[in-house]
Amino acid sequence: MATVHLPSGLTRHTGGVDTIEVDAARIPDLFAALCDRFPLLAGQLNDMAVAIDGDIYADPGYQPLRADSEVHLVPRVAGG
C-alpha cells in the first residue's frame, strides 16, 4: 500500500485527512483512487508535483509505485 501525504492546502477537501493509504501500482491509479475517496480533490491534483520515495516529479505521468512507496504531493516550483 502506498502512503500518500497531502499538503495542508489540500486537506480542506478531505475533511482534514492528510495521510492516506492507497493500493495502486501507478500514479494514474493512485490519483483515481484519491479522487474516488475524496471527490473534492478532482481537478486539484493536476497542478501539483509528486514526490515518490523522495524524488520529485514535476510531471508524474505513469510513474510506477512500489508496494511501500511514500508519496507526497508538493507544489510545483520553477528554477531559473
Binding site: 497542478d47 523522495g54 524524488d55 516529479y57 507526497h72 528554477g79 531559473g80
Partner: protein, 759 residues
C-alpha cells in the same frame, strides 16, 4: 549507485571547445546576425504604470515611408492555452498579454504596439506616431498598497487560488496563497526559551544579464517560420511564440544563438512572438533588439518582498518552532516564486512545528521571471538573519547552532518527502574547519555566515552522440550553453567512450536538429541532460561492441569494454582489442553509421545546500561597505569540469552580494523606474569584490551515474543573509531591509550613535 569510480576525464579542466570563438569575438549572440532583406522592429511601450487602453490609432505609423508592418494585440489571437515553462505549467494568456497588452497596460513599459521598418530610425519615429488613448488609473506599487482596503485592483476577475485566507473574498490583488504546516506552532513557541521575530523587506532586482534580448524572425508565404534568438529554452520559444503569434509550431524552427547570460530571465518570451507577427505581416525577416532600459522596465526581474519570520529555540540552541509569512510581488500577472520561497525557507533545519504562509501579490511592475533559485534567496535572507540573532542571543557559535539543527539523509523536508543523501552537515563542517572562520578581523570589520538550499530540476532531456570514421564524436543537445555545459558534455562523452576530450565536438542544436529538451535552467543541464548524454554515449558504445562482435564473429554478449577498447573473449582467433577509432573506421562494412541516442524525463533529485562566510568592512563615516573576504562552500555532487563549477559558485555569490548591498528597482510615485540603466542600477564591479574562494564538497546524487548535483542556483541563496549578518557583526545593527546601500547604513549608524550618546 555503483561503487566509486576512477574517472579519466571527469574532474579535469580542459579548455572549453567554444572558448576561442568567445575570446576572439567570433561567437554569434542574438544581435550579431543579419539576414538578407531584414527589417528592424521596435516596440511602443506604455508611458503609464496602470491604465485602460481606450484606443490605438496606427494610421500615421502605417503611412510612414519605410514602414512595412504595424501590429497591436489585435494581430495576435486570443489564447488560453496552458503551456509547460520550466517545471510549472503556466497559463499562456498571461504571457501573451504581457508580450502585448490587450485591454489594460499594467506597468510602465508594457508593450502596446510594434513597428517593422527598413531602418531602426524610421521604426522608432513611426512608433512614436502611433496615437494611444489611455484612461490612466492609480498604480499599485507595493505589497502593502496592493492588499490595503480600497486599493486599485489590477485584474477584476482575480480570485485567490490555493488556500485563501479565511477572510478572502471579493476583488483582490492576491493571486494565490500557499500554506505549509507541521506539528503545533503555538505549543512549540510556548515551549521555547527564546523567541525572535523580525520583518524583512527586499526590493525588486534584475538578473542583470549583459546581453539584452534579441531575435530575428522570418515568416514565409507558406506560413513556415524560423526564429534566431538568445534564449535559455528554444523549445519553449517555439511552443509559446507559435501559440501567441498564431502559428503552427510544427512549422516553426527556433535556432538558439550563443546566450549572453540568462539566470532565468531568458526562459520566457518577449520579442519573438512580435517579430514573428511583424514578419508575417511584412513578409520580410524582422530583427528586434531590446535596449538596456527596456530590459529593466519590460522584462522579468524578481520579486520585491515583505517577509515576517518568527523562530523559537531552546536554550541549547535546538529550534522548536517556526512561523513565516511571505508576501512576494508577482509584478503585473500572477506568478511570483512565493511558493518556492515557502518550501525552501526551513529546508536546512529539523523543526518539528512550523506554519508558513506564502502570498503571490500582483502590483504594477513588470511581470517577474525566474532569477536563479527563484524565491529561495528572499526566504533565506529572513530565516538566516533570525537564526543569526538566536545564535547571538544564546551565545552559541552560528555554525555550531546550524549544525545542531541541520537536516540529514532521512529527515523530512519541510515540503514533505524525506531527503536522500544531502551534504548540509558536510558543508557546515567544511566552513567551521576552514581558516576563514577563525581569521582575525580588523577594525570596522564583521563576519557573517548563512546557508542556502535549492531543489535542482530534472525534466525532459535528449542527446545524440554521432561517431565519425576517424573515431571522433559529436554530441548534440538542445540546451543553450550559458556556463560551460558543452565542455562538461564533451568530458562525459570522452569518459564513456574512452577517447580524448579534444576528439569530442559538443553542440547545441536547434529545435529540429535536437530531440526535445526543457530549458537550460533549474541547475539541470549537467544532471538531466548530462544523464541523457551519458546514456547516448553508452548506446554508441554498445553499438561499437556489436560491431566488434561482427568483426570477430562472436556473440555480442561476449565482448567486453575496457579503457576505450572493445576486448574479445579469451582465446578468440585472430582477434585483438580494437579502439573506437579502429571500430569507427569499419562502420560502413559492419552495419552502417553509429548514432547513439537517449531521451529521458528525470525527477528533481539531488537538492543541494551551500554555506557562505562573508567578511565585510564598513566605513562608519560614509556607510559604504566592502566585501574583504568571501568563501563559498557547496555540495556539488560531482564536479565534472571543476573550473566551471567554481565559476557558478563565484558568479552566484557575486549576484547575491549585489542584491544585498546595492541593487534595487527605484520607482517614482507614478510607477516609473528611475534607475533603468547600469549606472544607477548598481551591480558589483571588479573593484567591489575580493577573490572568492570556493570549497566543493561532493556528496554523490544517487540518481546520476557520476553523482552530479545541480550547482548553478544554490550559490545565490546564502549571500543576502551572509552579508547582512556580517553587517550586524561589524556595526551592531540588525538591518532588515535591503539593499544595505551606503545612505541606509549611514543613517542607521548615525541614529545608533545618537542613541548611544544619549544613553
Amino acid at each position: 549507485m555503483t561503487a566509486p569510480r576512477e574517472f579519466k576525464y571527469v574532474g579535469t579542466r580542459p579548455i572549453r571547445h567554444d572558448g576561442v570563438d568567445k575570446v576572439t569575438g567570433r561567437a554569434s549572440y542574438g544581435a550579431d546576425v543579419a539576414w538578407p532583406g531584414m527589417l528592424h522592429g521596435v516596440v511602443l511601450r506604455s508611458p503609464h504604470a496602470h491604465a485602460r487602453i481606450v484606443k490605438i490609432d496606427t494610421r500615421a505609423a502605417e503611412a510612414t515611408p519605410g514602414v512595412h508592418a504595424v501590429i497591436t494585440a489585435r494581430d495576435l489571437p486570443e489564447t488560453s492555452a496552458k503551456i509547460a515553462i520550466g517545471e510549472a505549467a503556466v497559463d499562456l494568456r498571461d504571457i501573451a498579454d504581457n508580450v502585448m497588452a490587450r485591454t489594460k497596460v499594467l506597468y510602465h513599459g508594457h508593450a502596446v504596439a510594434a513597428v517593422a521598418a527598413t531602418t531602426l530610425d524610421i521604426a522608432r519615429r513611426a512608433a512614436e506616431a502611433i496615437a494611444v488613448v489611455y484612461e490612466v488609473l492609480e498604480p499599485v506599487m507595493s505589497v502593502d498598497r496592493a492588499i490595503a482596503a480600497g486599493a486599485p485592483i489590477l485584474h477584476p476577475a482575480m480570485k485567490t487560488t490555493g488556500t485563501p485566507a479565511a477572510d478572502a473574498g471579493g476583488a483582490t490583488n492576491v493571486a494565490s496563497r500557499l500554506e505549509l504546516k507541521r506539528g503545533d506552532v503555538d505549543a512549540g513557541f510556548a515551549a521555547a526559551d527564546l523567541v525572535v521575530e523580525r520583518e524583512f523587506r527586499t526590493p525588486m532586482v534584475h538578473q542583470g544579464y549583459i546581453e539584452p534580448h534579441a531575435c530575428i524572425a522570418r515568416c514565409g508565404e507558406d506560413g513556415r517560420a524560423v526564429v534566431w534568438c538568445t534564449t535559455q529554452g528554444p523549445f519553449f520559444v517555439r511552443d509559446a511564440s507559435a501559440a501567441i503569434a498564431g502559428l503552427d509550431p510544427a512549422h516553426l524552427k527556433v535556432i538558439p544563438s550563443e546566450i549572453g547570460g540568462g539566470f532565468g530571465g531568458k526562459i520566457v518570451v518577449y520579442l519573438e512572438p512580435l517579430a514573428l507577427a511583424l514578419s508575417r505581416k511584412a513578409q520580410r525577416p524582422v530583427k528586434m533588439v531590446m535596449g538596456r532600459d527596456e530590459v529593466f522596465r519590460a522584462t522579468g526581474p524578481t520579486s520585491g518582498s515583505r517577509v515576517r519570520v518568527k523562530l523559537g529555540a531552546r536554550r541549547d540552541g535546538t529550534l522548536v518552532a517556526a512561523s513565516a509569512s511571505l508576501w512576494y510581488e508577482a509584478g503585473a500577472y500572477a506568478g511570483s516564486p512565493a511558493g518556492a520561497g515557502a518550501m525552501c525557507a526551513l529546508a536546512a533545519y529539523k523543526i518539528p512545528n512550523f506554519f508558513i504562509e506564502a502570498h503571490d501579490v500582483v502590483v504594477n511592475k513588470p511581470k517577474v521571471a525566474a532569477y536563479r533559485a527563484p524565491g529561495s534567496p528572499i526566504a533565506a535572507f529572513a530565516v538566516e538573519s533570525v537564526v543569526d540573532e538566536i545564535a547571538r542571543e544564546l551565545k552559541i557559535d552560528p555554525i555550531e547552532l546550524r549544525l545542531r539543527n541541520a537536516n540529514a539523509e532521512g529527515d523530512r523536508a519541510p515540503y514533505g518527502p524525506k531527503y536522500g543523501p544531502i551534504g548540509l552537515t558536510q558543508v557546515l563542517e567544511a566552513a567551521r574547519n576552514h581558516p576563514h572562520w577563525r581569521a582575525p578581523l580588523g577594525a570596522n570589520q564583521g563576519r557573517g555566515v548563512a546557508v542556502g538550499f535549492w531543489f535542482n530540476a530534472g525534466m525532459n532531456s535528449s542527446a545524440t552522440v554521432t561517431l565519425n570514421g576517424d573515431g571522433s564524436a559529436a554530441v548534440v543537445t538542445g540546451n543553450p550553453d550559458i556556463g560551460g555545459t558543452r565542455a562538461a558534455q564533451a568530458i562525459m562523452v570522452a569518459e564513456e567512450l574512452g577517447i580524448p576530450v579534444e576528439r569530442v565536438r559538443s553542440n547545441v542544436g536547434d529545435t529540429d536538429g535536437s530531440g526535445y529538451t526543457d530549458v537550460t535552467g533549474g541547475s539541470r543541464v549537467c544532471y538531466a541532460t548530462g544523464m541523457a548524454v551519458i546514456r547516448a554515449a553508452e548506446d554508441a558504445r554498445e553499438q561499437l561492441k556489436a560491431r566488434a562482435a561482427t568483426i570477430w564473429n562472436v556473440s555480442r554478449e561476449a565482448v567486453e569494454w575496457h579503457d576505450g577498447r572493445a576486448v574479445p573473449p579469451e582465446g578468440t582467433e585472430k582477434a585483438k582489442p580494437m579502439t573506437v577509432a579502429e571500430l569507427a573506421a569499419e562502420m560502413t562494412h559492419t552495419g552502417g553509421p553509429i548514432v547513439g541516442r537517449a531521451s529521458l524525463y528525470a525527477p528533481m533529485a539531488g537538492p543541494a545546500f551551500g554555506a557562505h562566510i562573508c567578511d565585510l568592512e564598513v566605513d562608519p563615516e560614509t556607510g559604504r561597505s566592502q566585501v574583504v573576504r568571501y568563501t563559498v562552500f557547496q555540495d556539488v555532487g560531482r564536479a565534472v569540469h571543476p573550473s566551471y563549477v567554481e565559476g557558478q559558485m563565484q558568479g552566484g555569490a557575486a549576484q547575491g552580494i549585489g542584491w544585498a548591498l546595492n541593487e534595487a528597482y527605484v520607482y517614482s510615485a507614478d510607477g516609473v523606474m528611475e534607475n533603468a540603466g547600469f549606472l544607477d542600477y548598481r551591480m558589483p564591479v571588479a573593484s567591489d569584490l575580493p577573490m572568492i574562494e570556493t570549497v566543493m564538497v561532493e556528496v554523490a546524487n544517487p540518481l546520476h551515474p557520476y553523482g552530479v548535483r545541480g550547482v548553478g542556483e544554490v550559490p545565490i541563496v546564502p549571500p543576502l543573509a551572509a552579508v547582512a549578518n556580517a553587517m550586524r557583526d561589524a556595526t551592531g545593527i540588525r538591518f532588515t531591509e535591503l539593499p544595505l546601500s551606503p545612505p541606509r547604513v549611514l543613517e542607521a549608524i548615525e541614529a545608533a550613535d545618537a542613541v548611544a550618546v544619549q544613553a
